[in-house]
Symmetry: C2
Subunit: 431 residues, 2 copies
């Protein structure tokens, strides 16, 4: 896989260089704008690119003291987040003309930390399954995945070092895997949610795309006030390679690559996953899909009322399926969700880290949709933190991510393990 | 306590009468508009009262078939919810001129169910602790409580049969107690959250004010698609009278009334609360307050950036206290919250129902603020469903609520018990 950001400093390196007087925010931004100029026509990552506003902001930053941990870092924002005075279309013609009257909380926090908001990135329709126009920068003819399509593609193409996205089923981990970048979905509600259009309130989670784990950690540190950088935790992970209940839908190439990956893990740190819990998981992807449909029908009740005819057939069917669910099914499903969350915390231990495929295989063709979130639904339902790192590559050079998952609240350990895996990969070549 | 809604049908009765052709939505609304005209100057419950729009909507409903479970019910909406084309001020001068460009999900669901949106009700500043102008309709000179001040007061004054509000610490249960109405805070995330301005994402919960438990249940049934009406559950509650760790701040009158109430409970259904768990709860109110400050500083980061000088001194101090918390404290607090939630579900049983005071006493004077949410913080942190019913009355005739609380997801049983307590009260006089 070719590196489309070669020579461009990442977020951590940019902030360090600016703070040491070796780089200006303006020149860092200029280099990214050049990548945008070179790539955007082909990729279509942006709904709105505010080069002029971003340059003015970068110059203002250069004229003052260091503002915070993201000082001078160009940031792409998925178009379901409100960014004041920018379009807020959510990938739907219903909101074609809407301009956000305020900043989402996470956007304001990023600004306060010194980030330069470069613009809004393409999303699938309301962050559901109807694709955007965005193309995969590293796999010709393929989908970048969804729903955070533009954020993943912009980072993969080197147009920004960092971008914000959200995950409800697999909308961070899957596109990151398909585009060969790092994608980090924090623990549920670790990051502020206000001003981000909701699809399913029980699962929606704000996270980040980057080219390294420290860069992704930096973004979420700035938004949460937590210390998340790798290299600081003293906890010892227990690595649990986990194929999961959706293994059978994985591609033959995934199966071969994953089997090799498992073999490469240090045996003394690894452990099998409890069989009883594993069996319980079989019903979870379908449970997640049903609750997601119900909650989407509630979150998008206004859009359905004012513009049902402007919804894609796919989304409309999903909303109507959700709205039609019986009171009994709703109650049973919510009870099953709560019970599974309770049980997973009761029957696992601090330090448990699951290693699982990020996606069923490499990015499928653009025309086929945005790919299958099957390997992500369980962790989205649990709200567990997950970080994918681009460790695997099929024979055609297409990336596949390894998804590192921890228990609720164990974000620092997830990032620690993800970072160690990335370093092993790049220091020793093949694992 | 005088009944300011005497002679006016509640929500359930209104829908039934309309469906049976005995009442029109227009005449039901007219009766409420008369109450508004008589009371609003004194109470100040409304930010925006759309009498004309509501009348037009009621007439349109009368001209068509029954639309849903709230057909023809006038509804007040707390001014932190977005209601399209209505003011969306959130009790702050920062948003004095903001008009909402869309409906919150819950508002759209209420409309789809046939509710008539009468207007926006007063809220404390961003649903925090800085009071609105609203007065208590049943206790002269007293606060209605907060933050859902206008919704509680509007229902207490008979201006609407139903109103939506939210709770982060005690913003539904406390004002309902002070105003002598029913307040129902559902399980966390049972009701759609989109389009409701966030104060603290881990606690904010949409709920309802009404004059009876069936009316409150009707509102949340319409928003959640669940079956919640009393009289349907077959589960047997285990009643746990619980004074809680904040008992000492209760007023002498509360202490006397509560002791009598405990004596009135049927001994064969009651049980003591586990001492070990009870001891754990001592630190929870302070934990809740710390997390609330941190999350509010994140949710309101944009408002702080664009209008810090327009924030009240009280809110500004709370946001700055939250923003200043160390990474270690943040991590410890989130871990403690997750552990307490996990433990409370592990060490209690389905059917457990806690009966606790809704507030430390009757409504305090208007000038003293909106009262203390101390008796509500534990349940808000847990996300447990709670319903307060106006069962107690001090020697001056001022109401105090009994708060009925259940485990996460056991909303139907909470409403069942709350309804039984209400019926006992009104069928047998004193308990």
């Amino acid at each position: 896989m070719k590196d489309l950001a070669e020579g461009l400093p990442g977020a951590v390196a940019t902030v360090r260089a600016i703070s040491e007087g070796r780089l200006s925010a303006e020149s860092a931004l200029q280099a990214r704008l050049e990548r945008c100029a070179a790539m955007e026509a082909e990729i279509g990552a942006w709904v709105h690119l505010d080069a002029e506003g971003a340059l003015a902001h970068a110059r203002a930053l250069d004229a003052g003291p260091m503002r915070g941990p993201l000082h001078g870092v160009a940031l792409g924002i998925k178009d379901i987040f409100a960014v004041r005075d920018m379009p807020w279309r959510c990938g739907s013609p219903i909101w074609a003309d809407r301009i956000a009257p305020f900043d989402a909380g996470s956007v304001a926090l990023a600004r306060a930390a010194g980030a330069v908001i470069l613009g809004k990135t393409e999303t699938t329709e309301f962050a559901g399954y109807q694709p955007s126009r965005t193309r995969n920068p590293v796999v010709p003819g393929a989908t970048p995945g969804g729903s955070s399509s533009g954020s993943a593609a912009a980072v993969a193409a080197g147009m920004v070092p960092l971008a914000l996205g959200t995950q409800t089923s697999g909308s961070i981990i899957r596109p990151a895997s398909f585009c060969g970048v790092v994608g980090y979905k924090p623990s549920f509600d670790l990051v502020e949610t206000w001003g981000v259009a909701v699809f399913a309130r029980s699962f929606d989670t704000v996270g980040a795309f980057a080219r390294s784990v420290p860069d992704a950690a930096l973004a979420i540190e700035a938004l949460s006030g937590l210390a998340l950088q790798p290299g600081r935790t003293t906890a010892t992970p227990r690595l649990i390679p986990f194929r999961g209940p959706t293994w059978d839908i994985g591609s033959p190439e995934l199966h071969a690559l994953w089997t090799d990956f498992e073999t490469s893990l240090p045996a003394e740190q690894s452990a099998p996953f409890a069989a009883a819990l594993s069996a319980t998981m079989r019903d979870i992807p379908a449970l997640h899909a049903r609750i997601m449909a119900v909650e989407a029908s509630e979150a998008l009740a206004h859009e359905y009322e004012i513009g049902a005819d402007l919804l894609s057939a796919k989304l409309r069917a999903q909303l109507e399926e959700g709205a039609a669910q019986t009171p009994e099914q709703r109650l049973n499903d919510r009870s099953a969700m709560l019970a599974f969350r309770q049980r997973m915390m009761a029957e696992t231990s601090p330090g448990d880290i699951w290693l699982t495929p990020a996606a069923p295989g490499a990015a499928p063709p653009f025309e086929s949709g945005t790919g299958d979130p099957a390997f992500n639904r369980i962790w989205s339902l649990l709200g567990f933190p997950a970080c994918t790192v681009p460790l695997l590559e099929d024979s055609a050079g297409r990336p596949i991510g390894v998804q590192v998952v921890g228990r609720l609240g164990e974000d620092a350990l997830v990032l620690e393990v993800a970072d160690r895996l990335m370093r092993d990969r790049f220091e020793h070549g093949e694992i």
